[in-house]
């Protein structure tokens, strides 16, 4: 039975679906020939062996971790497609590695390329770390140096923090799943940041940190994550996804606590010193102002005002708690200093600098009321008292 003839397009379409669904994703080993890196960024080449060849493309969006050259033997992964316009089939490569590198290396590079393309490593989505975290989540093994190093470092730098420790497997079967669960649990445990890591080891030992599962857990974590896997030279997928990569667990604990308790204490000391000094300066200024007045009345007014303020300072001092007093005494007895300042305001203090005080019948002259010609007064100087008779009185213009 003869059927209706197919159009070329219909035939090509059947071939296309047969090839694409029948073969699909493949991994091919072969030799590169005729490699062209087009200005568009796409790559075109042929893979061949002794008796066959296949056209290949690798689009610009795919990353390559090496420079392909003709004659190089590679392992390419991708899918076979049909290019209908030219009736050609080809391999669309998603990933390619020189042949002979280890399987784990290939898997690492493949996942890295894939996640990079999906935006897992984008700088724009990295979360900022808190400057003063109060709760730090840690996911690592219960045994081993990593947890010990981190706790020691945190205790030394910023013992104010609470650590929420979720022990995990860090290698072997189930490690990747356990680490991912730990990240989820810590993310829900109201911590300010999470450190995920382990000590050094072989690439196999560190493998859990090169898995999609851990990458996903980190990527979807709402809390900032620091990765701390192995030694400085070990780099894992987790390091790329984390908001911050620390070279070692100890370094992670340091990065997690940018503010150190001893620095804060030092800062508090500096600040309190400045506060005390500043207040002392203010009162000192008032004292000097008073001393600069030669006029007895103006000076007395100022003395009263200062005395009032010093009384308030005293009131305040007595309201202080015991610890407050201890603190003040520690800071070179600031209050005592103020009190000695107060003594320099004694009415007789100016006598030492050559001024004289006029008294009548042994008492200071009253603020109001005038002297009369013929009044007998005493002039008190630093080391003598003279008795004098007032000859004449001339009022001064009222001065403020």
């Amino acid at each position: 039975m003869q059927e209706e003839p197919l159009s070329v397009s219909q035939l090509t379409q059947s071939i296309k679906s047969a090839v694409e669904s029948g073969i699909g994703d493949v991994c091919v080993v072969g030799e590169i020939s005729n490699f062209k890196h087009h200005t568009s960024g796409h790559r075109y080449f042929t893979l061949k062996d002794a008796s066959s060849q296949i056209s290949c493309t690798m689009w610009r969006s795919r990353t390559l971790s090496f420079r392909p050259e003709d004659g190089m033997r590679v392992v390419a992964q991708g899918k076979v497609t049909v290019y209908a316009a030219q009736g050609k089939y080809q391999l669309e490569c998603a990933f390619m590695q020189p042949e002979g590198v280890g399987d784990l290396y290939v898997a690492f590079e493949r996942l890295k390329a894939e996640l990079a393309q999906q935006g897992y490593f984008d700088v724009s989505r990295k979360k900022a770390l808190p400057t003063m975290p109060m709760r730090i989540g840690i996911a690592t093994s219960q045994t081993g140096a990593a947890i010990r190093d981190m706790l020691t470092t945190l205790e030394r730098r910023f013992p104010v923090v609470s650590v929420v420790f979720r022990q995990t497997l860090v290698q072997g079967d189930g490690a990747a799943h356990d680490i991912a669960s730990a990240i989820h649990e810590l993310d829900a445990a109201n911590v300010d940041l999470i450190i995920v890591g382990r000590g050094g080891g072989s690439i196999e030992d560190l493998w859990a940190f090169n898995t999609r599962e851990v990458a996903d857990a980190m990527y979807n974590c709402n809390t900032p994550v620091i990765s701390a896997v192995g030694h400085e030279t070990d780099v894992t997928i987790a390091d790329f996804v984390a908001d911050l990569r620390a070279a070692t667990p100890t370094a992670a604990a340091e990065l997690a606590t940018p503010t150190v308790a001893s620095d804060i204490l030092y800062g508090i000391d500096i600040t309190t010193d400045r506060i005390v000094a500043r207040l002392r300066d203010t009162l000192h200024e008032l004292t000097e102002m008073a001393e600069s007045f030669a006029d007895g009345r103006a000076m007395r007014r100022l003395q009263e005002r200062i005395a009032m303020r010093l009384t308030r300072l005293e009131d305040m001092r007595t309201r202080f708690t015991r610890s407050m007093l201890v603190s003040i005494q520690k800071r070179e007895s600031a209050t005592e200093h103020l009190r000695s300042r107060c003594q320099t305001l004694h009415p007789m203090a100016p006598l030492a600098r050559g001024y004289a005080v006029v008294e009548k019948n042994g008492l200071p002259l009253p603020m109001h009321g005038h002297l009369q010609p013929g009044d007998i007064v005493q002039v008190r100087r630093n080391s003598e008292i003279s008795t004098v008779e007032v000859q004449s009185i001339d009022p001064l213009p009222e001065s403020k």
Partner: protein
Amino acid sequence: MKSKGNTPEISLEDQLKRLEEISMLLDRGELPLDEQLKIFEEGMKLAQVCREYLDQAKLVVERLGGDSH
């Protein structure tokens, strides 16, 4: 979830910010003397509270149970 006995009601970070603010206000010296004395007192108390808190702080480790162990 607040588990730490010695955690101050106001966060350490906020207390330190206030202390710094007090220091700045006193530096400027624009406030009336009474007000300066008041914040001086506040600042000294704050400094003492923070200092004691930091001096006495001990790292607290709480465990989060994993289901697979």
